[in-house]
Symmetry: C3
């Protein structure tokens, strides 16, 4: 099996786990299993994930994003929703594939737009894809409506034998209080499985993945439930439409994923949930007139708006603490925050060193304020200069005249090689290769959402492979003059995405000594 097939395979469970903001494969496999309680839904979900991830990979989008399930989870949800209502057949499967491709394109386009604002696209692509399928499918007379509801027991029998069927019925016959019953059904509805067994299994998976996430899901649902009671809104709407998953997802997202779990993050969860309820009720009326569900639109609107508003704060220390390095779990986000707070005066950062040894000149540090602006503003350019402030010996007409050319580059921190670009020739002095902007480049992943990129390396000098683990200080290549580089220098930047060409991310270097 090649490396590439491995990427698409590994992306499958993560595409399931990402629905709960996680990249934890075990959770993904569990959710995949649950999705097969309705085997047609499960199959369509799987088809959609594989279609989206394969096409993303064929077209050459970031293998790291594919691997993390970031391009698959919206298509997955569309697949599950499509499969649920119809009889299986090649019409259904081909419609699922086209819907998955469309959802993938919406994912990529929304990623392109929203990352300019440093915002997540959440499940926006899913909703547009799903609405399209739901409306169009009313015309598709070749698609038979599903009659599987009555055969659930048979399917459970296939999946898990008699014990599973017995479990299903015993759970169904428990006399649950309405609030817990609705909570479990809403949880199941996230995967289009509105039965108590699915809800309980998902609650279990959530508890295993993160106790904070689980308690937030309960807290969020409870606040919403209380607000329905206070305002006299019909609790039946909540009980029968399962729309309550908006409250669960919002609580997890605000309380533990986008904010560091703390009293403030819980307070904001409590403030935002009544707003999510009001949006759910109001948007529900609009979409109902077209016979559509709002799905997770209220959750998306509130979370994206709130995260954006926090980024616009002039004095961020007055608001709640945002998660700067997404660890994909509330516990890990909290641990990382506390850990770095104890070790550094400036919390939220892990130490990264300079990518070389000895004395270099920080060309861009010197004019750092003026350049590397906007999306590319957090970058450094390094050269070596002599006593006369010259970067080269002789006339500087040849790359080999430059002191830094061919000097060893070391990994700025522990990590794995996420992206690699090789085979770009070194330019003659003054030439610029505008077609392959960054030249030979190594991107190292230090943590989820912290990557460092080293560019313009010497052709043939790269000593590491994609996926290889590197230690801080390990020699990984040499300074060169490839790409958009008129004379030899080393470009280094941090970024939150693995893409070569991704925007930079403000991240302080470990202390260095500077002579001028």
């Amino acid at each position: 099996m090649t490396e590439n097939q491995h990427i698409v395979l590994a992306s499958i469970p993560r595409s399931y786990a990402q629905v709960f903001f996680s990249n934890y494969s075990f959770l993904g496999w569990l959710l995949l299993g649950i999705s097969f309680i309705d085997w047609v839904a499960g199959t369509c979900g799987l088809i959609a994930v594989i279609a989206a991830n394969t096409i993303a990979w064929l077209l050459g989008y970031s293998s790291e994003m594919i691997n993390q399930g970031m391009y698959g989870f919206n298509a997955l949800l569309v697949g599950l929703g499509t499969g649920l209502g119809f009889q299986p057949g090649w019409e259904l499967f081909s419609i699922t594939i086209f819907a998955a491709v469309f959802t993938l394109f919406l994912t990529l386009a929304l990623e392109g737009i929203l990352y300019k604002y440093n915002l997540p696209y959440l499940s926006l692509p899913f909703m547009f894809g799903m609405w399209m399928v739901m409306l169009a499918s009313r015309d598709f007379q070749s698609l038979g409506l599903s009659e599987r509801g009555i055969y659930t027991a048979n399917e459970l029998f296939t999946l898990g034998g008699k014990p599973l069927v017995d479990l299903y019925y015993s759970i169904s016959h428990i006399d649950w209080p309405p609030s817990i019953r609705t909570y479990l059904l809403s949880l199941g509805a996230i995967f289009f499985q509105t039965n108590l067994l699915a809800g309980m299994l998902i609650a279990l998976g959530l508890l295993l993945f993160s106790r904070i996430a689980f308690t937030l899901s309960v807290l969020g649902f409870s606040i919403a439930w209380g607000f329905y009671q206070l305002t006299g809104a019909s609790i039946h709407e909540l009980t029968y439409t399962y729309i309550g998953f908006n409250y669960i997802l919002t609580a997890i997202a605000i309380g533990g994923i986008f904010l560091v779990p703390s009293f403030k993050s819980y307070l904001w969860t409590a403030i935002l949930l009544p707003i999510v309820v009001m949006l759910t009720l109001s948007l529900g009326k609009v979409f109902l007139s077209f016979g559509l569900s709002v799905y997770s639109l209220p959750f998306n609107i509130v979370v994206i708006t709130f995260v954006y508003v926090l980024k616009l704060q002039l004095e961020p220390e007055k608001g709640p603490v945002e998660v700067t390095l997404q660890e994909n779990s509330p516990e890990r986000n909290l641990y990382h925050f506390i850990n770095t707070k104890q070790r550094f005066s400036n919390p939220n950062y892990l130490p990264v060193s300079l990518p070389f040894f000895g004395e270099w000149t920080v060309l861009q540090g010197h004019s750092g304020e003026y350049t590397h602006k906007d999306e590319w503003k957090h970058a450094w350019d390094f050269v070596i200069t002599d006593d006369e402030d010259q970067q080269y010996r002789g006339d500087g007409d040849w790359v080999t005249d430059y002191y830094c050319f061919g000097k060893a580059i070391s990994a700025p921190g522990d990590g794995t090689v996420a992206e690699l670009l090789e085979g770009v020739p070194d330019n003659k002095i003054g030439d610029v290769n505008t077609h392959q902007n960054w030249g030979n480049t190594i991107v190292i992943k230090h943590s989820d959402y912290l990557y460092s990129k080293l560019s313009h390396l010497k052709e043939g000098s790269i000593k590491v492979k994609k996926g290889e683990f590197v230690k801080q200080g390990q020699n990984i290549g040499e300074v060169g003059n490839s790409g958009r580089s008129p004379y030899p220098h080393l470009h280094m930047q941090f970024q939150v995405l693995p893409n070569i060409g991704a925007p930079t991310f403000s991240y302080p270097l470990g202390q260095y000594i500077l002579n001028n």
Copy 2:
């Protein structure tokens, strides 16, 4: 009372006045009074203003924007609209607060997006907030519907005694021509007060605030009225829905706020109003199918699109003259334009001098075209150099080696200190403080929408306080090396917002002598 409490208090009347693009407190108090003709609406409006402004202040958004009422007026309108239809009670008041918070978040988010295009957000946030409340409240059975209409006389009696009641009835019994009657009711409807007394009081307030704005409101309404007659559109729709405030607001905005009042600005008002009528009729049908009003959506669409289109002109002198420094009143906008036109060859500018005395080197003037790009393109960096073009004596290893370090900075023009950042340590040479980008900084407000910012000042050198008035040339601090500054220099820029970190604004310096 602390300075901060003062900011929230001062923001209250201005949040009312901003509905008419004004920051004139007297107009605000008058409108606040009028809003209490329905005391529940008035109370909810006030609650919403206070909630939005307090939260904006607690989260650390620009105190200048809060002070001007810019973050309050959309929440105010949502509060007024929410209060109008329901019986008072703690359910109503808590719903009002949540709606106000949501509207504030929408305001901040839309500000973030639209200021990238240099466009105003007008009342867009109000509409989204109001639609949400209107739709959701149909489910809120704890909210009793208002029955106050029949007790208006009682409430007027409370507000102003028998004379006010008599006035109310005598105005109601006048046999107004339908056009004037509709004009006054539309004017009242801006504050959700659809009665003739409110309309007359608002007309009076408008007349006191600006005679141009008042005449524009009449002109705009008349053109729209005429277009209804021409096309045979039902005048009853205009008479009974009060939607005519769109025509009034558009006329004021185009005729005197965003354009300098002139023949051309009136001509464009006349061209755009039939378009606003057509949009009002068409959008009205779409929203009616959800049982909603379009509110001021047509006004928002036409004004924002038109202002944006003017900014895209290649030869701006061919179009109408845009207001560059918003003075928040057509008269003041016109006066400013005429005044500066007489005094300078290049109209629209008031003179600002360099922020120091003696001979400095304009580092960024020299490379001005290449750097300070995009949003930050209109900035200068100043240093002092010696005869050998060196910025420092000795080796330049210490900040004190640099000629400019510690040199006095003077206010570039009259104004008040709008924002202040202190306590950032001066960097060692070559170090860059990426966390506090601008370092110690003074922002001076010279006029509404003209601020100058001086950055990287020496720690502890700032000689002024926030809110203090400064004269041109007054010593306000010293050049330092704080923030994203690898070596001592002074950064200066103009901007239209008080925020530290706001985009720059193209504004010419008063003439200076330059040696090279």
Copy 3:
């Protein structure tokens, strides 16, 4: 006739041709003729085109864009649609003009937003304008509904005499297979002419303009027809609403305009068409509830999203080949691609030389990576330096001290002068003219969508006129110091739009020799 009247006149046929992505005047005149089969529709279309192009020209928007019909085709479609349903009269004509102005403003605003993403606005402005007119006109009781359908023969007689009438009837009476009949009616519907004669004439025009476009139109329609059959969707919806033009336009746009015609471009056409069908069916239901047509919305969504997604590819060589220089015809796009591929190792480029002779210093080549960022990143600044790396003799206090000042500039390639700005004085050294950023400037059009701009030229030095043809190497002006230029230098950039101030476009210079 002045040059300017000429621009508006020349823009008329091209505004018609642009509906098929063409700037081929003959196709435009043909389509104009066809539009007069319903003479009121034809008249309103013509009024709208003239109104939009005249106002764009009066307000000083790019005369090149006007000339190409880029600002007229959306207004044209709105005019045709408005005229179709109503009786002629001055009410109809004035409504047409206001709708055309609104559509123009939408065109300009969408251009401003979408060009930041390098995306086309296609017919988005038309749809918003058309929906507004369709909804609002229900209220316009002065507008009589058209009863012209029954008089088509009379109108055809006026246009082309008895032969045309006979042709019309003989075509109508042919027993067409339903698919061909629907194809022809859908083709006619693009110009709001749902009759077989119009469809046949348009098919003929398309065939003359481009055989690839014609075959793509058939292919796209066939795939969609097949997908209807496969899914059991009602073919009647396609037969009676003429909505099939979405499939025709998508196939031409993807198969031959935005992608270079090839197996891959046809494959993507085939993949995307079922998605367009699903979008058409689903959006159709939403718009039907307002009594509106979706017009070309599905085509717009799919094409714009797909083109955007291709631009976000990390490894573009994995996807289909995008057209980099739009030649406005599939054949010319293909020819250009093959031709340049044979002649250069780097396909898609035609050779352009440096705009001067002798030895210059590439100031921005040297720091090319750091500056000219974002939209303006592909630019060069040239100066002349002496052996001591000085740009001037003496003190450099006067522009005439600079070696490059007054040096001859030559056209970097064959082309015509597209824009010209003259009369900006040369600055004193160190002064910067922030009001007229680019100073005296020449923009040369080398091909559709490839322009070069030379800026900061010496006042009075420009030797060419707007519209003049220039040969590569021809002397066109002299280096100066006008605009945002503190000292004499030449700014050169490539761009895809003629506007002075347009974003730059990455385009390699022909080889040059560089000394350092």
